[in-house]
Amino acid sequence: MERRALRKWLVGGPPLAYLLFFFAAPLAIMVLASFRVPGDFGGLAPLMLEKKLNLTTEAYAALFSDFLYARLFLKSFAYAALATALCLAAGYPLALLIARSPRRYRDLLILLVILPFWSNFLIRVYAWMTILGPQSYVMRALNGVLGLVGLEPVSLLYTPAAVVVTLVYVHLPFMVLPLYANLEKHDPALLDAAQDLGAGAWQRFWRVTFPLSLPGVYAGAALVFIPAFGIFAIPDLVGGTGGIMIGNVIKQQFLDARDWPFGAALSLVLMASAIALAGLAAAFGRGARA
């Protein structure tokens, strides 16, 4: 019995220690920081001041009193939600196609889906700056067509549209992989049964394949939405001034404004809302299954 307990600790101990050290502890530091006072030249003011704890809820007060931040949260939510929806719309057919291809091709196709990960994230985003830039073939072709039908030429780079397009590109594999993992396990006999009982192709999809794939949809949506909600690099590079998201503000607070408590408060609210949304999705998912 004792040996078993020991083995459990040997196996579970290191990752637990790792998480305590690099996740729980920093998180606690962040929570504490969000209640502290900013230092005169950035960073944090001393925790103890005249033998009293120097704590305040000012950061949260500022956050909730200014409608600007709520709007930024909503905007970030909208971008992330739109990117998630587009990832789902693009990723579902792809995952289904791969799951229904002959077994010997599936691994190759999945490899192609994750192939972009082999190049650096920033390089991929810079590539999109080129693609969305006014000199690219894509944009010139697009504006050429718009000109033919008598519309004004458009510019995509440094707009919210560029943010969403790049978010979709970067996060698409995170949607495809869980969907594929789910769809690949479906018993083909279920589709035969549905067809046998009179269901056409459309009905077979909506009544059998799609409901059975919902766990994959929720997993993929969470994997796309949560990182997209708090991202700052993409809006930084392709979003311009109109395309900033809450992640950019957090980054600004830490690096430019050097108001650490406010940055910490913003990131904690971001985390709390992401967790709340994930919990809501999970509850919704359970409801759909039961």
């Binding site: 018993d187 279920l190 035969d192 049964a193 067809q195 009982l197 009179g198 009905q203 009544r207």
Partner: protein, 361 residues
């Protein structure tokens, strides 16, 4: 015209001929079984009837219509799949209602018919359960109810009892027979289990390597197998190499290797000198210390080599004086029936003239 007619149906997968020129007709109301070992083409044939696969040659007529190009969802027949293929995300009621919803029946009609179907397959009160909450037998009943709900003309059953344990299988067999009689729907049943086929069917087609080896009523298949494959596959059978000596009216004389001269029956036109086997069911072989009755035809002496106690019966392996080994089956009922028949005992075996069949192919 028969309800379902197969005319020269052939299906090839590359080099392999999975179904080879199958022609047969299935009548309205029949319980018809395709029996054969795995890989004999019976499931391929069933899938072609259901419409999931198309023949390379020949034609399938159902309700008098050529089924070529008619998709499964448009055929007036349903399938009970081997694994049942119940929709795991739907309750029992929703599973059963599926075909009616596809047919866009009004909700009220669906409700009452689903309730009646649940009653019919004795699943009353389980309508709200999900497939994973059911036992194997209950799932099987849901699958049957789901396939019967919109009254198809034909029900295809692909080894529907294979996943159940032996005891349950037996009770489900009688349930299926009762249900088929009750609803009057034609059943085409696929199985590799010969006892199941014999118990359930009006007629059986024994298949091997894509071909129908024999088609007939269970008693004809078992009692008068047409060739070695059928004799061996359906039930147990002694197969003894033999040569035909003389053909008389109604009976033949064989020289059976390791046995001696045997009188038997034959169905086909055969001439003296033909090579083949003597097929003899173990339960037709009598065994005793000394056999009563007429000495003469088909009586041989030998030694008990081994015996296998099976509860209701005992199977004896007897080495005949001339060298062949014969299996004899004796019921264990009755006192002293098997007295003195232990291994090593000298015994006599014998069988009636009409018990043995001479098979040439």
């Amino acid at each position: 015209m028969a309800l379902l007619e197969l005319r020269g149906v052939t299906r090839r997968f590359g080099e392999l001929v999975a179904v080879d020129d199958v022609t047969l007709g299935i009548e309205q109301g029949e319980f018809f079984t395709l029996l054969g070992p795995s890989g004999c083409g019976k499931t391929t044939l069933l899938r072609m009837v259901a419409g999931f696969d198309a023949p390379d040659g020949g034609a399938i007529f159902f309700e008098g219509r050529d089924m070529q190009g008619v998709p499964p969802e448009s055929r007036n027949l349903h399938t009970v799949f081997q694994s049942y293929a119940l929709f795991p995300h739907m309750s029992v009621e929703q599973n059963i209602a599926f075909a009616l919803r596809m047919a866009r029946l009004p909700a009220e009609a669906i409700r009452s018919r689903v309730a009646a179907a649940l009653e019919q397959v004795r699943l009353h009160g389980l309508g709200r359960r999900y497939p994973h909450e059911l036992s194997g037998g209950q799932r099987q009943r849901v699958a049957v109810a789901r396939a019967l709900i919109n009254r198809p003309r034909l029900l295809l059953l692909d080894e529907p009892l294979a996943a159940l344990d032996a005891k349950l299988r037996e009770s489900m067999q009688s349930e299926l027979i009762g249900l088929q009689r009750e609803v009057g729907v034609t059943f085409v049943y696929v199985t590799h289990d010969q006892s199941e086929a014999l118990a359930l069917s009006h007629r059986i087609a024994v298949m091997n390597r894509g071909r129908v080896e024999q088609l007939g009523e269970p008693s004809a298949i078992y009692g008068f197998p047409r060739n070695r494959f059928v004799a061996d596959f359906v039930g147990e059978c002694n197969m003894l190499p033999a040569e035909l000596r003389t053909v008389d009216a109604g009976q033949i004389r064989l020289e059976v290797r390791g046995v001696g001269e045997v009188v038997a029956t034959h169905g086909e036109h055969i001439a003296a000198g033909a090579q083949g086997v003597l097929a003899l069911r173990p339960e037709h072989v009598q065994i005793a210390k000394t056999l009563p009755g007429e000495h003469g035809a088909n009586h041989f002496s030998g030694t008990v080599q081994a015996l296998l106690y099976r509860g209701d019966v005992t199977v004896y392996t007897v080495a005949l004086a001339a060298g062949a080994r014969i299996q004899a089956l004796l019921p264990n009922a009755g006192p002293g029936r098997t007295a003195g028949l232990e291994a090593g005992a000298q015994v006599q075996v014998g069988w009636r003239r009409d018990a043995g069949h001479f098979l040439t192919d």
